[in-house]
């Protein structure tokens, strides 16, 4: 221990530290020694006193006016540094504001598009739900109609213009539901199509184009009415708004 202190004091670390010539690692070591060993601390104090004494021996009066120059410089520097600090803060503040504005705009934009998307998704879900409900209802009704003993089954055949046409309607007057299954359709020229109609309470209702003689299972709902009449006509491609009476290929009483 003693040797350690002696070695330390014999090295020139303390003198170097006194003059601020140490590296930061050395300074750290010296400060540790000073804090730990009173002997080192005393020597350091002594060195400091010596340095002051020695330096004072060489004191020299600086020229007059130097003090004023220095004080003036410090005052102006203080002023300047204040202004510089203000400018620094101003730059920092405007930069922050700019950044904030940018970020705000970005988030606002994102929020906006998310909201739009949200509305779109909601609408989609709603329409899907409706579709599903409709289909479910349809399937349920089909089931009811097909399984109900009160359901009448009517086979429809085409007239001269479409002899091969074959369809089956299912009518249930209790549940007030009607379905049709068009199982066979003769081919038509490309510029023509079959369209289905229903006369309900004296009004002609467009039931749409029959694209193909669908599969056996495909049932099409008919608007129910007592003693209603359905028609299948040949119309130009794309369908017609009113049926062309001379082109009726099948009458479907139901």
């Amino acid at each position: 221990m003693k040797d350690k202190i002696k070695d330390f004091l014999d090295s020139d670390l303390l003198e170097k530290y006194l003059l601020d010539d140490t590296t930061s690692a050395e300074a750290f070591q010296v400060e540790r020694y000073i804090a730990m060993y009173p002997e080192v601390r005393e020597t350091y104090e002594e060195l400091q006193e010596n340095l002051e004494v020695y330096a004072k021996l060489h004191a020299l009066a600086p020229p007059e006016g130097l003090k004023e120059t220095i004080l003036k410089r410090i005052k102006s520097q203080r002023h300047n540094s204040g202004r510089k600090r203000f400018i620094k803060y101003a730059i920092a503040a405007s930069f922050t504001a700019f950044l904030f504005a940018g970020a705000s705009y970005f988030f606002w934009n994102q929020n906006q598009s998310l909201q739009e998307e949200n509305v779109m998704v909601n609408n989609k879900i709603k329409s899907l739900e409706e579709d599903m409900r409709e289909q479910l209802m349809d399937v349920r009704n089909q089931f009811i109609v097909l399984n109900n003993p009160q359901t009448k089954r009517i086979t429809v055949k085409g007239n001269k213009k479409a002899k091969e046409l074959k369809a089956v309607t299912y009518v249930n007057p209790v549940k007030k539901l009607s379905y049709i299954n068009v199982s066979k359709l003769p081919n038509l020229p490309k510029d023509q199509c079959y369209q289905m109609w229903a006369e309900v309470n004296g009004e002609m209702v467009n039931l749409g184009i029959i694209k193909e003689a669908g599969s056996q299972e495909k049932l099409l709902a008919l608007p129910y009415s007592k003693n209603a009449m359905g028609y299948i006509t040949i119309e130009p491609v794309g369908g017609n708004s009113t049926p062309t009476v001379q082109n009726i290929v099948a009458n479907i009483p139901y």
Binding site: D10, D12, E15, K16, L18, L19, D20, D21, E31, E45, E46, L47, Q48, E49, N50, L51, E52, V53, Y54, A55, K56, L57, H58, A59, L60, A61, P62, P63, L66, K67, T69, I70, L71, R73, I74, K75, Q77, R78
Partner: protein, 187 residues
């Protein structure tokens, strides 16, 4: 151990009160100017150094740690480093060599010496010049001990021991007088 005046100055420095600089100048400018002059050996440069040092002292005032160094030690370090930097920036690399001349030790103008140190100044001559040269080289010329050893052609071990003895001698001879003078000066 610091005097009341030192404490007062340190407080003012922490408060960033410009009065601190005024007080520092009144009490330390002679010594610090002497240090600067010893290093740069040119009055104009020494004045620049003193100015720059005071500016640095002002700027760094919140970095002063009384537990690590006496106020003077801190002032001395700043001034010496500023002076050494000045010297380096002025000297071209070719004549970087620092003239070591014993007569420099006594190179002070008479009017530059403060009266309260007159007797001390006379006594300075009593320190053997071999110690003085080492003290000068290290304290003022900004040499490391190794550089002083090379420059003065003295083995490193001798430099170390001379530095120690020189400092001790200094204390032995001037200690009591000096402390009295310092006290009077600071009152």
């Amino acid at each position: 151990m610091s005097t009341l005046l030192e404490k007062h100055i340190v407080e003012l420095l922490k408060e960033r009160n410009e009065k601190a600089i005024s007080l520092l100048y009144e009490n330390y400018s002679d010594t610090l100017y002497g240090v600067a002059y010893k290093v740069v050996r040119n009055e104009e440069l020494a004045q620049d150094v003193l100015q720059e040092s005071f500016i640095k002292i002002w700027k760094k005032s919140d970095s002063y740690d009384a537990s690590k160094a006496k106020l003077f030690t801190w002032l001395f370090r700043i001034t010496r480093n500023t002076a050494i930097d000045k010297l380096r920036s002025v000297n071209t690399k070719s004549d970087k060599e620092i003239q070591m001349d014993v007569s420099d030790v006594y190179n002070l103008g008479v009017e530059g010496i403060r009266p309260e140190f007159m007797d001390v100044q006379e006594n300075l001559e009593k320190i053997e010049s071999k110690y003085q040269i080492v003290l000068e080289a290290l304290f003022f010329q900004g040499m490391t001990q190794q550089e002083a050893s090379d420059e003065l052609d003295i083995p490193l071990g001798t430099i170390k021991s001379r530095l120690k003895i020189g400092l001790r001698e200094l204390r032995k001879i001037y200690g009591p007088t000096m402390i009295l003078a310092l006290l009077l000066n600071l009152m």
